[in-house]
């Protein structure tokens, strides 16, 4: 094999395949540093493989003959798009290797780590497999391995009832997803007679059936509204590095298949796919970030924000498909580039935030926003890195989140000015306003999260006695933060890479780097100069008249207590009220005491929320399934007559169907 990519891939596969065996032998669970190092080495090799991919033609390779699945081989295909996602996997898993040792040391008391070290490399490897899979069988094997290994990882702390519940819910969600996927694949095979993705080219109404089934199956995994319910429950239940992998990378693997099947390889071509993705993406974005605003668990805030970001990515993909159908060629490339760039960006900053949340969890043993606070003074580096990640996820310049959002805006603007019908042009403008709304909500959500966790005064003793995270954990976060800055400042270069494989989508459109005309360099220079000058002046002034340190202004009533601070729920209240109809927001006020009106003894105020999607759609659905289950059980009451009758009826029905089919 001449290609260095493949030999590097072999190195990754060898390292990650050997690791589980080594970990199984490690009975006393003392070699976590070794296992982390192996993961890191594999990730570096994977990054090398992704970078070395030749541009001209994709590399196809199959496993040798003993590995065979029925009529097809285990086949892989590595092209630029796959390399992009391999890079995403590698860039998140490499810093993870630095983070894992300390974190796992802490986890030892709660869980069996041997299982963890078996499942983690399998998850990484299976994600690589999904990205490289060239045909349905290979894909499904890797996909199932990914689902099962991540299920094991979610269930790491299985001694807690809530974790068991989350893991089972997640397992159920993956089953539903795979069922849809299998249906879609079989349908597509029936229409094309091919198993390899590359040979599928379905257009028009024929593409609709299998395409929609696959879209739902992938959407369940990606956390697309309305199939996102499991995501905010399962992701926080896993150990933080795994949450980072699941939110940062695994949901993207599902999106990767959407990009491949619906956009780049033209396997299923119909404008409806674009509209569906666009609408569901737009709903996911607002829905996700609104619910993130209401959460009281730090990791659940981050998980809901993943739903939001998946929504933004889907807007990009759906927009690109729709623009292609409508003939707005310039927007196709922008939408696709926005989606792919946001996938990479989100992988970086969401991992950074999850690792930060993990550090908080490790040092305080709680993720409850009502018990945290004031960690900024106790964990200054974690605080700074988390704030940087939050700024990046809110799309603030000069960090990387801004680049993806700007491309989305630009694509919408192209639709708004170049669309063929008034409705289309209006939709472009509407999308601009919609993304702005999502941006404003994200800003509020993350100001709240940072403010309640890191700022003000500690709300509990555990937060008061927190200590800074270990050096390895900080280094991992620092690397991810450096990535956020580098991708923000180096946008033209990264757009140049995207241009190479997105160019076939819209050959006539202007190349991506030339679209990017923003003076990010000059702007950063102005910002940094102003801040440095102001800071130097302030420092010199502080030498002349020293800064007086005193308590926060308390209106003269004696020192404030931490409980008097604005809590997470009260910060969100104005916004929650504005959107209250979506989650039946209500504030329950209870006043107790002998003389309630004049001398209340106890006052409790509690905001209540309830998602209408869960209470009005899913809950009745589950009830209906349970009830019909009960009815089915009656058939299985042990009566042999009933069984014989059932068999006879089934035979009859099959005969009739067979007769009609002929």
């Amino acid at each position: 094999m001449p290609a260095p990519s493949l030999s590097l891939l072999d190195v990754t596969a060898a390292l990650w395949l050997l690791l589980p065996f080594g970990a199984l032998l490690d009975r006393r669970q003392i070699y976590s540093r070794v296992w982390s190092a192996l993961i890191g080495l594999g990730a570096v090799a994977l990054l090398g493989a992704a970078v070395c991919v030749p541009l001209s033609k994709p590399l196809a390779f199959t496993l040798p003959t003993p590995f065979y699945l029925g009529t097809v081989g285990i086949a892989f295909r590595l092209d630029m798009l796959a390399a992009w996602f391999l890079a995403v996997i590698a860039l998140v898993s490499a810093p993870m290797a630095l983070y894992l040792p300390t974190y796992m040391e802490h986890l030892k008391e709660h869980a069996n780590l041997r299982l963890f070290w078996v499942a983690l490399p399998l998850l990484l490897l299976s994600m690589v497999g999904v990205v490289l899979a060239a045909n349905v069988q290979t894909f499904l094997i890797a996909w199932e391995l990914m689902s099962l290994s991540s299920f094991l990882l979610v269930a790491t702390k299985h001694r807690e009832a809530s974790t068991r519940h989350a893991a089972l819910l997640y397992l159920g969600a993956t089953r539903v997803g795979t069922a849809f996927l299998a249906g879609g694949f079989l349908w597509a095979y029936a229409l094309t007679g091919q198993w390899a993705f590359q040979d599928w080219h379905l257009e028009g109404v024929r593409a609709l059936g299998p395409g929609l089934l696959l879209m739902i199956g992938l959407g369940v995994k990606a956390g697309m509204w309305p199939f996102h319910l499991w995501l905010p429950i399962a992701h926080p239940a896993a150990p933080s590095p795994v949450s980072a992998l699941m939110s940062g990378v695994m949901v993207k693997v599902a999106i990767y298949m959407m990009v491949r099947l619906f956009l780049l390889s033209h396997a299923f071509v119909h404008p409806a796919f674009g509209y569906v993705l666009l609408i569901l993406g737009a709903i996911s974005a607002v829905w996700g970030i609104l619910f993130a605003m209401l959460q009281e668990d730090l990791k659940r805030v981050l998980a809901y924000s993943t739903v939001e970001n998946v929504g933004l990515i889907l807007i990009g993909i759906g927009g690109a498909i729709a623009a292609q159908a409508q003939g707005v060629t310039s927007a196709v490339q922008l939408g696709a580039a926005a989606a792919l760039l946001h996938i990479l960006n989100h992988a970086l900053f969401k991992s950074l935030l999850f690792l930060g949340a993990g550090a908080v969890d490790l040092r305080t043993h709680t993720r409850d926003l009502t018990r945290l606070g004031g960690l900024g003074r106790r964990m200054p580096y974690t605080f700074g890195l988390f704030t940087l990640g939050a700024a990046a996820i809110c799309g603030l310049p000069p960090f990387n989140g801004f680049v993806g959002e700007w491309l989305l805006y630009q694509g919408s603007l192209h639709v708004a000015s170049g669309g063929s019908t008034p409705l289309l042009r209006f939709c472009g403008l509407l999308m601009i306003g919609w993304i702005a709304l999502v941006g404003a909500l994200a800003l509020a959500c993350f100001v709240r999260a940072i403010g309640v966790v890191f700022q003000g005064r500690p709300r509990s003793a555990v937060a008061e006695h927190a200590q800074e995270a270990s050096r390895g954990m900080l280094l991992a976060q620092g690397l991810l933060a450096a990535g956020c800055i580098a991708l923000g400042l180096g946008a033209p270069q990264i757009l140049g890479v995207l241009q190479r494989f997105l160019a076939p989508l819209a050959p006539a459109a202007a190349p991506l780097p030339s679209v990017w005309t923003l003076p990010i360099g000059t702007m950063t220079l102005v910002l940094v100069t102003t801040i440095v000058v102001a800071a130097m002046w302030m420092a010199s002034a502080a030498r002349r008249i020293p800064v007086r340190r005193f308590i926060t202004w308390e209106c003269g009533f004696g020192d404030l207590t931490p409980r008097m601070q604005v809590a997470a729920a009260s910060f969100a209240q104005p916004i929650a009220r504005m959107f209250g109809a979506l989650f039946r927001y209500a504030i329950h006020l209870r006043i107790d005491g002998a003389n309630r009106r004049l001398f209340p003894e106890e006052i409790t105020v509690e905001p209540k929320t309830e998602s209408i999607l869960e209470s009005r759609v899913y809950a009745p659905l589950v009830r209906w399934i349970n009830r019909s289950g009960e009815w089915v059980v009656r058939l299985q009451a042990g009566s042999i007559h009933l069984y014989l009758l059932t068999m006879f009826a089934t035979l009859l029905v099959l005969l009739v169907i067979g007769g009609l089919a002929r």
């Binding site: 708004a416 509407l430 404003a440 509020a444 403010g451 309640v452 940094v528 102003t530």
Partner: protein, 306 residues
Amino acid sequence: MSLMVLFWFAFYLAHVLMLPPLLVGFLRLCKARLQKRRGPSLWQPFWDIAKLLRKGETVSETTTWVFRYAPMINMATLIAVALMIPWLGVASPVHGDLFLVIYLLALGKFVTGLAALDTGSSFGALGASREAAVSLQAEPAMVISLAALAAHARSSAFSIFLAPGQSGSDLIVIVPLVLGALWLAITAELARMPVDDPTTHLELTMIHEALILENSGRNLALVEIAVALKMTVLFGLLAQVLLILWPLHSPVLAYLVSLALILAGIATLALLESVLVKLRWRRIPNLLSFALAAGALACVVVALKG
């Protein structure tokens, strides 16, 4: 070429330094005259800021580096914004993009909100929460109304979509709608009446003043400079939107007319602040939905015309 850029850089920077306090003084003077008071001198804001800069500061023990650096970052973003928007009627020294500017303003809001939460004071946190809630409507309103102009001109570069004297009969409808939406959004962004009353004595009812309650001395001076600069630039932006309808080909004339329009805008604000009352907090979403509606109507007109 680079000499020209340097000249415009210096030109804009001089205005960034000098104009904002003067305009604040002008606003106060207008309001005083409308209330039949003599009012402070036009230069009073300069003396105020100079005094604050000379004074020492008291900082809460609870705060972190965020509180120290937030006013500087906020001021820096506003200076960058001021160099990107051609708000003086002449070409801006740095190429400006609509979405970049909106997100730079958001960066300022991000650090200001964090600084308010840093003190652990309920005032600051309430201010931050309210500002976030207000900008939830103000920001999209501002974005879609300006995006309507951008879609009309087919570019999100300020130098193109704010170019004076653009052709198109539909602009006569679009520009007033955009102006209306922008006016409401800008008053909300600047925490002016009827969204917020900057002259109340009770911080509990306010948005912006509650946000910066803990800032004092030099730190407060930076905040005041930034607020004045934000007002100046956003009113300059309003003036440029109005100028779209007039073909002013001489840069000197465009500059003078822009200044006059900014003053007129400030005088209008003073008049409105004198006759309006502050809205109840719960009614603000209703007011801002007018901004959203006007922006959406502008979008409809742009979309229909194509």
